[in-house]
């Protein structure tokens, strides 16, 4: 029995190692477009950090609670652009963007950065895809946070398969404070907009802030379940 467990452990380890090269190393990339949206969802077990003992905001992220959001991001005239609000009705947590510091591409028309290391900007109003907007936000619970918001536009709109997720971090230590996702959202719409001439990223591209937050949340075993 011990041998079997040992072999199983080795197999799992190899499996993990096999998976690693598929995901390219390096930072996510900024993309020259916009994503916008508003909606709501019911927080589900398996899609909240409350499940794994993250309870920094007391009573928040509890399955069955309703969450409302309005969020958007992009790059505009060589600056990161966007704004957003989020409300967890279970505990009354309001989150309001104060500064967008990164905007990155997760997937476009099924081409995922994870699988290919590339992620093209949107060039059609009908494009589908996933973006992340990252930055800082205030809350009504006495603390400011860093945030990573992931938004997905899935067509057709009538199918109601768009997705939204939010992870909040301590802005200094990047400890995960809160996380939920709606996959799909219960109501609302998220739209990926093709780029226009104002869609120019900062000279350095992605600031790396989304990557920093991603690493912190993954270290805690927390990440989004869609891309």
């Amino acid at each position: 029995m011990k041998n079997i467990i040992g072999k199983l452990a080795i197999s799992l380890l190899i499996g993990g190692l096999v998976l690693v090269p598929v995901a390219p190393a390096g930072a996510w990339i900024a993309t020259n477009d916009f994503i916008t949206g508003g909606g709501w969802y019911i927080i589900q077990s398996g899609h909240t950090a409350f499940d794994v003992g993250v309870t920094f905001f007391t009573g928040c992220g509890i399955p069955g609670s309703r969450a409302n959001f309005g969020w958007h991001g992009g790059v505009k005239n060589q600056q990161f652009w966007g704004n957003g609000n989020y409300l967890d009705h279970g505990c009354g947590l309001h989150v309001h963007n104060t500064q967008v510091v990164d905007y990155v591409c997760i997937s476009t028309n099924g081409i995922t950065w994870t699988a290919t290391g590339t992620c093209p900007s949107s060039t059609s109003h009908q494009d589908t895809g996933t973006r992340e907007v990252c930055g800082y936000a205030s809350t009504n619970k006495g603390t400011s946070v860093a945030y990573r918001v992931r938004m997905n536009d899935t067509e057709p709109e009538a199918a109601k398969q768009d997705k939204f997720g939010i992870i909040l971090h301590n802005p200094t230590t990047f400890e995960v404070l809160y996380a939920t996702e709606g996959i799909p959202i219960s109501g609302g719409n998220i739209e990926l907009h093709r780029g226009n001439p104002s869609n120019t990223a900062p000279s350095g591209g992605s600031s790396g802030f989304c990557d920093t937050l991603r690493a912190a949340s993954q270290a805690r075993g927390i990440d989004f379940h869609f891309e």
């Binding site: 958007h72 652009w81 009705h89 309001h96 109501g187 719409n189 739209e191 226009n196």
Partner: protein, 202 residues
């Protein structure tokens, strides 16, 4: 709908309107219609009878390559509140699209209460002639009566002395306005639009 009727609605809104939410691109000079006596997209926050209150309005697009936004935790007018207000207007060159959404709408009038978990209006106009708009209203309750949005344009119901129009769509030669939820009372004292998006053809 003709331009004349389009503007008539605007006058009505000016007189008694409390327009809760407006997201409006107006990318081309001279093609900007008016609502409430204001240039569409003009941001104005005012309260009181006879005033038009635009809460979380984007203002007009500077050109068809512009992108503008408005976002609020909460918004209020004398008879109500809403949360997570979001408005965006995006120009894509030959296409402009706007969207306005809000959650937790509660309006308290002398003749009843109106609430909605979520409302959203979207409008898109392209230079090839396409005008598209739609709304979503979830969890609407008027004076205790739950109302299901059918998705049809201009779905109109009267509950007591409260009239609600869902997915109110107004088209003109050069653009489209979609009001997710338009509430009026038959005594004329209340006129509120929750979630309004306008797109003007570039």
């Amino acid at each position: 709908m003709s331009t004349t009727r389009y503007q008539r609605f605007g006058v009505a809104a000016l007189v008694i309107g409390l327009t809760v939410f407006l997201a409006v691109p107006g990318p081309v000079a001279g093609q900007v219609p008016s609502i409430g006596g204001l240039t569409v997209g003009g941001t104005s926050i005012a309260t009181g009878t006879g005033a038009t209150a635009l809460v979380a309005s984007t203002g007009p697009l500077a050109n068809s390559w512009d992108a503008i936004d408005a976002s609020l935790d909460t918004g209020s007018i004398p008879i109500g509140t809403a949360a997570t207000l979001e408005a965006t207007a995006i120009g894509e060159g030959d296409l402009v699209s706007s969207a306005a959404s809000l959650g937790d709408l509660v309006l308290t009038t002398a003749v009843g209460t109106i609430s909605a978990d979520f409302t959203m209006a979207t409008a898109t106009a392209d230079s090839y002639g396409g005008l598209v708009g739609w709304s979503e209203i979830d969890g609407l309750v008027v004076s205790g009566v739950p109302i299901v949005a059918t998705g049809e344009q201009n779905q109109t119901l009267v509950i007591g002395t409260i009239q609600v129009v869902l997915n109110e769509v107004t088209t003109a030669a050069n653009g489209i306005t979609v009001n997710a939820l338009h509430v009026t009372t038959l005594d004329g004292l209340v006129n509120v639009v929750a979630g309004s998006a306008t797109a003007v053809r570039p």
